[in-house]
């Protein structure tokens, strides 16, 4: 497609272009708001999972098992089912079960256990000797978390953030089911149901570029904070 014909296409399909721009905005809104709330809740949950483990700083078998089971349940429910299953909860939180804001609720609920497990894994990579050294120098448990565990696990946590955001981009495509909009929704309705191959192609390209940008930013950040 030459530059000219692209410009022609643009002029002929102005409505579609604005539709795509809107859809991109909705996707970004869903991914980043659910990602943000997901991290705010998922990171502490991951930390708690790690600390309550056997031999952990705040060893607590009952707490660890209960959290583990809840997280596993969250992780095993297919997202498309979660989306409709928690509609009453969604309505309770945002007042409606339709629209972008409504899609953020199940996306967040789906992201929390995912993030928790990834963060738990990142914390596991911190050598136990470091925690021991901190204990030996008289660090309180809370200081060990904020000054040793989290900073040392930061590269792993940023990696977890990247993986989660990319996964959320994928999940957000299903949000069309509840009228959440977004690129996936446009792809399905215009591309698949109206047999418009061009629209399908454009949405996929935008999603690919979006994922590439998120991944590259994540990798770049990991490189900057990783001094291991």
């Amino acid at each position: 497609m030459s530059l000219n014909s692209a410009a022609d296409w643009w002029a002929a399909n102005e409505r579609l272009v604005y539709l795509l721009i809107d859809a991109l905005g909705q996707t970004l809104a869903m991914v980043f708001s659910s990602g943000f709330i997901g991290f705010a809740l998922g990171i502490p949950l991951g930390v708690l999972l790690h600390l309550s483990k056997k031999g952990g700083l705040l060893e607590n078998h009952v707490l660890n098992r209960s959290l583990g089971i809840i997280v596993n349940i969250g992780r095993s429910i297919p997202f498309i089912i979660l989306l409709v299953a928690i509609i009453p909860f969604t309505r309770f939180v945002v007042g409606t079960s339709i629209g972008t804001a409504a899609a953020v609720v199940p996306l967040t609920i789906g992201a929390i256990p995912f993030i928790a497990r990834l963060v738990e894994g990142a914390l596991l990579e911190v050598p136990s000797g470091l925690v021991e050294a901190a204990q030996a120098m008289g660090a309180k448990p809370q200081q060990i978390i904020t000054k040793v565990l989290l900073p040392e696990a930061l590269p792993g946590i940023i990696n977890a953030v990247t993986i989660t955001l990319v996964t959320l981009v994928g999940y957000s495509a299903m949000a069309g089911t509840v009228g959440g909009g977004g690129l996936g929704d446009v792809g399905i309705r215009y591309g698949y149901q109206r047999f418009d191959g061009t629209v399908m192609f454009i949405t996929v390209v935008i999603l690919v570029v979006l994922v590439q940008i998120i991944q590259s930013l994540g990798d770049h950040l990991v490189k900057r904070v990783d001094h291991r």
Binding site: G129, E132, A136, G138, K140, K147, P151
Partner: protein, 344 residues
């Protein structure tokens, strides 16, 4: 400064009960460098970790600077640990912090003001000779430099005691010496009590004033380093002393060695000189008196705490009778003798 009283530590591994430490009693005076030596699995690591309660003893008490640590609440213990520095075999530096910030960590934990931290850390880096590495990350340091940073960090909260958990075991011999020198320097300059555990007798010989030998969770011997080297009472102590000397039979000798004497073969003898051996030029006396020639294969003699001791591998050339008389003479003069075989 450190009192370890009737400390026992029991680990449970399924149904198995492991007595890692049994009835340990140790008193370490202010300002001494005290070494605990033992082979791996002897319980020495458990012992040093009991001193700051990283490992809680099953029974007994640990008194550091007059405070019984075993009786403290966890908050009080945290505060008391700031008076006990510790360094580790694998350094345990935070990879996310620069050298400066690693040393600053204990001060941050104690809530010291930023400007004070700067002065303090700069002084400590000066002390360990790493001032120009202040902004470097640990990943870019050598093992010896990492241990220096760890020492600076351990000293940051002005501890009265420094615990060294196999601090030189991951370092090469030259670096080990420089770290030991640094430890000796801070012991003298800051009058710091140092408890170190190691499996290397060379470390004990290098800097300790007193030593205890631990085997299978029990302290088998303890005393001044010179005394232990001169008059080891237990087999374990002798093994460690021998390990610093380490004389092995060269391979080509081993292949020519026979168990029985035949014509044209001569005994290969290992002589062990201890503090009990008569202090006289025994080798040349023997040669003259019994008319035999002594060819020294290898020898490792040392002088610690006013006593000569060491091992020697030597061939005794001469008639069978002369060689036997010579060995009997040496035996009388308290040289431990072992005929390893006869070399043709």
């Amino acid at each position: 400064m450190i009192e370890i009283k009737e400390v026992n530590k029991v680990f449970y591994q399924g149904d198995r009960v492991i007595n890692a430490l049994s009835d340990i009693n140790l008193t370490i005076a202010q300002g001494t460098i005290f070494g605990v030596i033992g082979s791996s699995g002897a319980g020495k690591s458990t012992l040093i970790r009991c001193v700051n309660l990283l490992e809680r003893p099953s029974s007994g008490s640990i008194i550091v600077d007059g405070v019984d640590l075993t009786g403290l609440s966890s908050q009080e213990l945290t505060l008391n640990r700031r008076k006990i520095g510790m360094i580790f075999q694998h350094f345990n530096l935070l990879s996310s912090r620069t050298v400066f910030n690693n040393v600053a960590l204990p001060l941050e934990l104690a809530g010291m003001a930023k400007s004070e931290i700067k002065t303090k850390v700069d002084g400590l880096l000066e002390l360990v000779g790493l001032s120009e590495k202040s902004d470097t990350y640990p990943a870019n340091l050598s093992g010896g430099q990492k241990q220096r940073v760890a020492i600076a960090r351990a000293l940051a909260s002005d501890p009265k005691v420094l615990l060294c958990d196999e601090a030189t075991s991951a370092l090469d011999p030259a670096t080990t010496q420089s770290i030991l020198e640094l430890l000796r320097k801070i012991n003298q300059e800051l009058n710091l009590t140092i408890l170190l555990i190691t499996h290397e007798m060379a470390v004990v010989k290098g800097i300790c004033t007193e030593v205890a030998i631990i085997g299978a969770g029990k302290l088998v011997e303890q005393g001044q380093v010179g005394d232990i080297f001169a008059h080891p009472k237990t087999e374990l102590a002798r093994q460690f002393i021998r390990s610093t000397l380490d004389l092995s039979i060269p391979e080509d000798y081993r292949s020519r060695m026979q168990a029985q004497r035949s014509s044209g073969s001569y005994p290969l003898v290992r002589l062990e000189f201890t503090g009990a051996s008569v202090d006289a030029p025994l080798i040349s006396q023997v040669a003259r008196q019994f008319n035999i020639d002594i060819s020294i294969l290898s020898s490792n003699m040392d002088y610690v705490g006013g006593v000569k001791f060491g091992l020697m591998l030597a061939e005794f050339f001469g008639t069978e009778q002369a060689a036997e008389q010579a060995l009997a003479f040496l035996h009388e003069h308290k040289v431990e003798i072992e005929v390893l075989g006869y070399v043709a």
